[in-house]
């Protein structure tokens, strides 16, 4: 009896790696996120993902590195709202959204959207909509390192 209690976890700690909305400094695994989504439902027949990566140039300038900053809590909350809206607007089964912050090297992953659906059309539409909304509404800012120095993307003359 006493032994069994040792294995009781009435309030298990939530592993941040299983959450479907995340802002994190480390990289993510696309395979792992897709695997988790497949585990949710065998009704999912199509999974569309968008992966944003760090390019080596921007507006004619060579970019050597990037850095992202976010407004904690508000950024996560906005991602959550986008996810909820997508799940009610489109005929889809699951949405995962992950954005990295901090320093990011050229070629590295920045953002991942994964959408699972019974049929592919809805998955494409929802995935495309989610990344559009993320760019428009989530308080995250990008700073690029170019030969002119470190420049916040919307602060260019």
């Amino acid at each position: 009896m006493g032994m069994r209690l040792l294995f009781c976890h009435p309030f298990p700690a939530v592993d941040p790696k299983i959450m479907s909305i995340r802002i994190q400094s480390g990289d993510f695994s696309i395979e792992e996120e897709i695997g988790k989504m497949k585990g949710l439902s065998l009704k999912i027949g199509g999974i569309v993902t968008f992966l944003g990566t760090a390019r080596d140039f921007s507006k004619g300038q060579i970019v050597t590195a990037l850095s992202f900053e976010h407004y904690p809590k508000m950024a996560e909350e906005t991602l959550r709202k986008i996810r909820e809206k997508a799940l009610t607007t489109f005929d889809i089964a699951a949405v995962t959204m992950i954005h990295r912050v901090g320093n990011i090297q050229v070629g590295e992953n920045i953002v991942l959207i994964v959408v699972g659906a019974e049929h592919r059309k809805a998955a494409f539409d929802a995935c495309s909509w989610c990344i559009d909304e993320l760019k428009k509404t989530v308080p995250i800012w990008k700073r690029e390192e170019t030969q002119d120095g470190k420049i916040w993307v919307h602060d260019r003359p």
């Binding site: 944003g52 992202f68 900053e69 976010h70 407004y71 809590k73 508000m74 950024a75 909350e77 954005h99 920045i110 953002v111 990344i131 993320l134 760019k135 428009k136 509404t137 989530v138 308080p139 995250i140 800012w141 990008k142 700073r143 916040w152 993307v153 919307h154 602060d155």
Partner: protein
């Protein structure tokens, strides 16, 4: 006395020289009045906070110019987003 926390992000943080300001406001300010006050107090922010493309959130919710600042509020100035 209304105690408010101001948060700056991205280029605003660089201009303000700080990411967070703690402020005690004697009278009841609208957001518009707070912006004027900040632009006068911090010369680097002059004309920047009041531009059309700046958004403001109070306690993580978007607000407009006429919103009245309350004791304990967190006022965040958000330049155009560039995530993704």
């Amino acid at each position: 006395m209304n105690h408010v926390t101001i948060r700056f992000f991205a280029q605003l943080k660089d201009r303000a020289g700080a990411d967070t300001l703690s402020l005690d406001i004697v009278s009841e300010y609208t957001l518009k009045q707070l912006v004027s006050h900040l632009e006068e107090t911090i010369p680097n922010l002059k004309g920047v906070l009041s531009t059309g493309n700046m958004q403001t959130a109070i306690n993580q919710e978007f607000v407009d110019d006429e919103t009245v600042i309350k004791h304990g509020d967190e006022v965040a100035f958000l330049p155009p987003f560039s995530g993704g």
